[in-house]
């Protein structure tokens, strides 16, 4: 097990090196240069030359890459061009927003998906089973931003039940020591703020959670159906255990392995969906941050931000692999 973890951690090294090269080259391939992005189209040649000098854009490429890696290792990503605030500071503010949203989406999909899949398998071939199959097919076929727009239109615009944009009402101010607003409002002991934050989370979380919900329900159904016909389940029933105990101890517990894997895989994929969901709800997370940065050619944010996101994504996938290995005795014990 330890060897497996060490091996996977070592594999991270080439990935990170490759990533930094890729991001470095990508930034330089973007149309428009930092100079024109900073100074506008009508800058004087002298001003452009000064900016090129400042960013070292006239140095040989390998020296530029070396300088880039050096700033990375110091965790110094410079200041955002549009807000003039340090990139790291903005990241610390934006990142918890996306994590909070992703966790809420995952919670929604797990709490609904596993019982739904389980019930569908228990009533195999029944109405609920067919409904859940059709529902989960629709769930993976609806573009996330379309669902988000429809939800926003129905629940926020038409019915006025929930807020349309943002993380929190502007009328409420609380301290933000962690930038996880749910946690912040709990720490402040402000229930009104907590309720407000939760209301802002509901629609984005449901939209973002729709795909994992569909997939978790489907996998749960398939896994339970699979396990249900195993010999050990028959034995457990034959020795007179009550159906609920058989379900809990023998069926669900063994079905949990594929379910955990899929939950992990989906958690990584949430980052992709977050870009679109955040965009619909003007939610100030990583997704909207990067989209704005691409539009404004905000180089410092892009250099740091994309790398951050990729590292988080790789680490999440690594954790998934390790927990999978840990849960699966065949890998754990080998």
């Amino acid at each position: 097990m330890l060897r497996f973890v060490v091996r996977r951690l070592l594999l991270l090294v080439p990935i990170l090196i490759g990533l930094s090269i890729l991001v470095f080259l990508w930034i330089r391939a973007l149309p428009g240069t930092p100079a024109t992005a900073l100074l506008g189209e009508r800058a004087t040649p002298a001003a452009v030359a000064a900016v090129r000098e400042q960013y070292g854009l006239d140095d040989p490429v390998h020296e530029q890459y070396y300088a880039y890696v050096k700033t990375l290792s110091r965790l110094d990503f410079g200041d955002s061009i549009t807000t003039r605030r340090p990139v790291l500071e903005e990241f610390q503010q934006r990142f918890p927003a996306t994590i909070e949203l992703a966790l809420a989406a995952m919670l929604f999909s797990i709490l609904l998906g596993i019982p739904l899949g389980f019930l569908a398998a228990k009533r195999h071939g029944g109405v609920l089973d067919h409904l859940s199959l059709v529902g989960s097919l629709l769930g993976i076929s609806i573009p996330i931003f379309f669902l988000a727009i429809v939800l926003k239109y129905v629940f926020a615009v038409k019915l006025g039940l929930l807020p349309t944009v943002g993380r929190m009402s502007v009328l409420i101010t609380i301290e933000h020591p962690t930038n996880f607003y749910v946690l912040d409002s709990l720490l402040a002991g402000d229930l009104e703020a907590l309720w407000d934050v939760l209301k802002h989370l509901i629609l984005p979380a449901v939209a973002l959670g729709s795909i994992p919900l569909a997939i978790i329900a489907r996998i749960t159904r398939a896994a339970v159906l699979d396990v249900q016909n195993e010999d050990y389940v028959r034995t457990a029933r034959a020795k007179g255990l009550s159906p609920s105990i058989v379900d809990r101890r023998h069926v669900l517990r063994n079905a949990l392995l594929p379910i955990t894997t899929i939950i992990g895989l989906q958690t990584g994929l949430l980052l992709s969906g977050a870009v679109l969901t955040e965009s619909v709800f003007a939610y100030p997370g990583i997704g909207t941050w990067l989209l704005e940065a691409i539009e404004a050619r905000n180089y410092p944010v892009l250099q740091g931000g994309i790398l951050f996101v990729a590292i988080v994504f790789v680490l999440v996938n690594l954790l998934v692999d390790i927990s999978y290995a840990f849960l699966n005795p065949r890998i754990r014990l080998s």
Binding site: L11, P31, I140, F145, V150, L276, I306
Partner: protein
């Protein structure tokens, strides 16, 4: 059930033992989900191919007088899906939009599939340093969330139909490369490969005519499902403002985005393109699921 019993059952159910493909086809036809999928995709393809014959009007030119000061008139006898913010017939735009979705979907999957397959087969069959090099590169590509990668590529290449196809295709390269490599590694050790090698069949011929045909079925399944993902990704790119350059292009994702401003007064303008996307994606997903079940060797011989 014992293995002997299982085998007996399989023998009973497979009289004459059809080949993999005829067998799969038989099972696909018996799957109601796949039939619905074929109908939806068939409809989608027919509409896309014969758009100029079906569409009542030109999708790009509108008549602002139809708006009569309000946006936008809903469905009527003349305009089944209503009129959009520029006075264009929404039905015609949806019909022509099928062309773009299908074209972009097919081309981008073709790009991802062919490059991915070449890389995957080299990695799987040649092995060694080349294998590690290719697979590490794929790891790096997979370490950026797919949709973000597509956004990055479009930002780099600039907006446009061709660039979108490349971007969406590129995100699918690592998926196909991994899939094919795994599949080939599994096939490489088979007896028939050993037999071919021992009688001196050249390596390239072994790969092309012995290994690839046997490793291809997961790729076909993934290819169908990838069409669904590609259509969704293209619409998503349209949504974040990276759609086709010409704003009059009837692309479903862009149509959906451009009309969210009129959601209050004309919700149909956003909802109809959305439903068109869902229907086409659903069709490919249904076929993909059906194919997966039909080609799964574990399920062979079960009705």
């Amino acid at each position: 059930m014992s293995i002997a019993e299982l085998e007996a059952r399989e023998l009973q159910l497979e009289p004459g033992g059809g080949g993999l493909w005829s067998d799969a086809w038989r099972r696909l036809r018996a799957n109601p989900g796949a039939i619905v999928g074929f109908v939806l995709v068939g409809l989608f393809v027919v509409v896309a191919l014969f758009a100029p014959l079906i569409a009542p009007e030109d999708p790009r030119t509108g008549d602002l007088s139809r708006l009569a000061g309000r946006c936008c008139p809903g469905p009527s006898a003349e305009h089944w899906f209503g009129v959009d913010q520029q006075g264009r017939d929404e039905l015609s735009r949806i019909i022509y939009g099928a062309r773009f979705s299908l074209l972009i979907g097919v081309v981008s999957v073709a790009v991802g599939l062919s490059i991915g397959m070449i890389l995957g087969s080299i990695a799987g069959y040649v092995g060694g340093v080349l294998d590690s090099l290719i697979m590490r590169l794929m790891d790096v590509m997979l370490s950026i969330p797919g949709f973000l990668l597509a956004i990055g590529i479009v930002a780099m290449l600039g907006p446009g139909l061709f660039q979108i196809m490349i971007a969406v295709g590129a995100t699918q390269i690592p998926i196909f490369a991994r899939l094919l490599r795994g599949s080939i590694l599994a096939q490489r050790e088979n007896d028939f490969v050993l037999a071919a090698r021992s009688i001196g069949v050249p390596r390239r011929t072994i790969l092309a005519s012995h290994i690839l045909p046997n490793a291809i079925s997961p790729v076909i399944v993934q290819g169908t499902l990838a069409l669904a993902t590609a259509i969704i990704d293209v619409a998503g790119l349209g949504y974040v403002g990276l759609g086709p350059q010409d704003p009059s292009t009837p692309e479903w994702g862009t149509m959906l985005t451009d009309t969210t401003r009129y959601l209050q007064t004309a919700p149909h303008l956003a909802i109809i393109p959305g439903i068109a996307i869902v229907i086409s994606v659903l069709g490919f997903n249904l076929i993909g699921d059906g194919l997966r079940e039909a080609l799964d060797p574990k399920l062979r011989g079960r009705g």
